[in-house]
């Protein structure tokens, strides 16, 4: 019974994940794209939970679906109508080639998966309840993976500095504004 319930939840989450993913790519309005991505991230968090990644699921909802997507929505609102770009670019050949490329990539991965599905991919390790819990993750981050943790902080610092530099007004812009007001 429990097994059946897990399957049902898994299938619903996976289906929602694929549908919202397709919606992100096909929607013509950037707002509905961004909102679909929030749904996509949330359903992925459910899949993480089912694969005993409790802390990753929580971080996914808080950081990704929360903070990052709010930033996206702010920028889309800031750009207003200018964010509505034409649906697809390039000639018909390029568009068909893009879809074929994506489909070929999918076919290659799925075939590779099926070739090994009966073998090593099916015998999962036994894990205890603490696996993936916030306490275990915290201990792991501050002992074995301390270097990764510190490098992550440097990456975020560099990105923040980059964001500030990109947001600074250039001299040409300041000059144009001064001429406008004069």
């Amino acid at each position: 019974m429990e097994n059946f319930l897990v399957w049902v939840i898994w299938l619903v989450a996976a289906g929602a994940c694929l549908v919202t993913g397709l919606r992100v790519v096909t929607a013509s309005n950037p707002f509905s794209s961004a909102l679909s991505l929030i749904g996509n991230l949330a359903s992925l968090a459910v899949l993480y939970l089912l694969a005993s990644g409790e802390f990753v699921a929580a971080a996914q909802v808080l950081v990704y679906a929360g903070a990052v997507m709010v930033m996206f929505l702010f920028v889309i609102a800031y750009l207003g109508g200018r964010a509505d770009a034409p649906w697809a670019g390039g000639t018909r050949t390029i568009q068909i080639a893009s879809v074929v490329t994506a489909a070929a990539l999918l076919a290659v991965t799925l075939v590779a998966l099926m070739l090994d599905a009966g073998g090593r991919l099916s015998d999962e390790a036994d894990v205890d309840r603490a696996f993936g819990s916030p306490a275990e993750m915290g201990r792991y981050f501050l002992t074995d993976q301390l270097l990764a943790f510190e490098i992550t902080s440097i990456v975020l610092l560099v990105a923040a500095v980059g964001g500030v530099v990109l947001g600074m007004r250039s001299e040409a812009e300041a000059l144009a504004d001064a001429e406008e007001t004069a």
Binding site: A85, S98, T152, G162
Partner: protein, 102 residues
């Protein structure tokens, strides 16, 4: 482990990644290209979490968190670029950016 095995997770991950690739190659709006990139990053995260469960090691989950931090950094810089483009009154169309100039 009750419920679907790891190959199912990997299949979903592969499908999501292909959807993201199609989005990056097809769409012209830099915003949608960034959103599709997020889908690709999340597909890789799902594979990381799945493999982490398969081997019973938490390194995969740590890597997934690192990918999340990199994605946040990428969004920060990417959105900064898009806003800078908009302020210079450039068309928001990835096909029209053909030269690098300060």
């Amino acid at each position: 482990m009750s419920g679907p095995g790891i190959p199912w997770y990997l299949a979903i991950s592969a499908m999501l990644f292909s959807i993201g690739v199609a989005g990056v190659l097809l769409r012209r709006s830099p915003l949608i290209v960034l959103l599709s990139l997020e889908i690709m990053l999340n597909a890789s995260n799902l594979a990381f979490v799945g493999f982490s469960r398969l081997f019973g090691e938490m390194d995969g989950q740590v890597f997934a968190l690192a990918v999340m931090a990199v994605a946040a950094a990428e969004v920060c810089v990417g959105l900064g670029l898009i806003v800078a483009m908009a302020r210079r009154n450039l068309a928001l169309d990835v096909d029209s950016f053909t030269e690098l100039r300060g």
